[in-house]
Symmetry: C2
Subunit: 208 residues, 2 copies
Amino acid sequence: MLDGSCNEFLDLLSSREPVPGGGGACAFAGAMGIALGSMVGNLTLGKKKYQDVEEDIKGLLIKSENLKRKFIKLVEMDAQAFYPLSQAYGLPRNTEEEKAVRERVLQAALVGASEVPLAIARSCCEAIDILGEYAAKGTRLAVSDAGVGACFAKAALLGAKLNVLINTRIMKDEELKQKIEEELEWLVEKYSEKADAICLDVERSIIE
Amino acid sequence: MLDGSCNEFLDLLSSREPVPGGGGACAFAGAMGIALGSMVGNLTLGKKKYQDVEEDIKGLLIKSENLKRKFIKLVEMDAQAFYPLSQAYGLPRNTEEEKAVRERVLQAALVGASEVPLAIARSCCEAIDILGEYAAKGTRLAVSDAGVGACFAKAALLGAKLNVLINTRIMKDEELKQKIEEELEWLVEKYSEKADAICLDVERSIIE
């Protein structure tokens, strides 16, 4: 899906087409956020002033580039998980039997459609950790980019939460539903705050 | 720039290349946010259940598609404003004369490099207003997408703020600096809160 042009991606996103939807957009926003981290890393490498952190930056670059690729894969995975769900929603429900079949298919599709945005949320948290390190260690010239990255990763995390909830709310498997929602709540609580702190630190370091 | 593939955009963003940078990424995130609004509109149009708001949705769709195009233009404008700035930073400063020339060129470049992210911030606020209407009037089936859009628009607004500040902080024209920073402060204060309220409303409407 990301082999197409950015303009095509935006037009598909705006359309009635089932994918990309909000979940895929969150994975893409996460990819942009961590890509901004890689940018900070690449602008820091080889600079005399930052020789002391050269090895740290190299390690961060491996992490951020891997995570970028993971986000790209999650855009596709979100599309793959959403298709069966949109098909299930479209099944007929005129008779009791049809209703029962639709419900079974829907419940099966809900699992993947909830687990992919949960995986996106987890990756956003990883991104926030890495962006915090870039903000602290990377070149001051690009510190705003690490801050922007953290803003994006937080937005993608909150967006992923909505994409989980819209599926878990109708999930019948109470145990799975609770497990997913509890993890999500914990991630959002911990990492929203961390992302805010990074952005605030970046802003302070700019205006000081 | 957005005619290239999404993957290329992400790779350019990660690289040492001066553009796209954080500003362009914010404009792109804004475009994704408002595109999600258009998606809600397109999924609402023609639905019997939403006949009463059909005309409102048509009006919103014109607004959101126009704003999407504006964000796309802002990605390019940010690149155009950043080039002269990155060139100015690269000018020699060995002699007093060189320093004076560099400072003059830099100060001139800072104006555009501050005003484009300010324009991005203003557009994010427009996006938040429109996404609030989509969240309130659009199909319940896609309400999470309006919420995700609002999260993105807020992140792009906060990101644009950092991109303004990194330039205005070294701006010598105190009057212009103050004017830009005051408008920005006002926009961020008012619209961060509005975006948060939209996301919270969307979350409540999902889990109720």
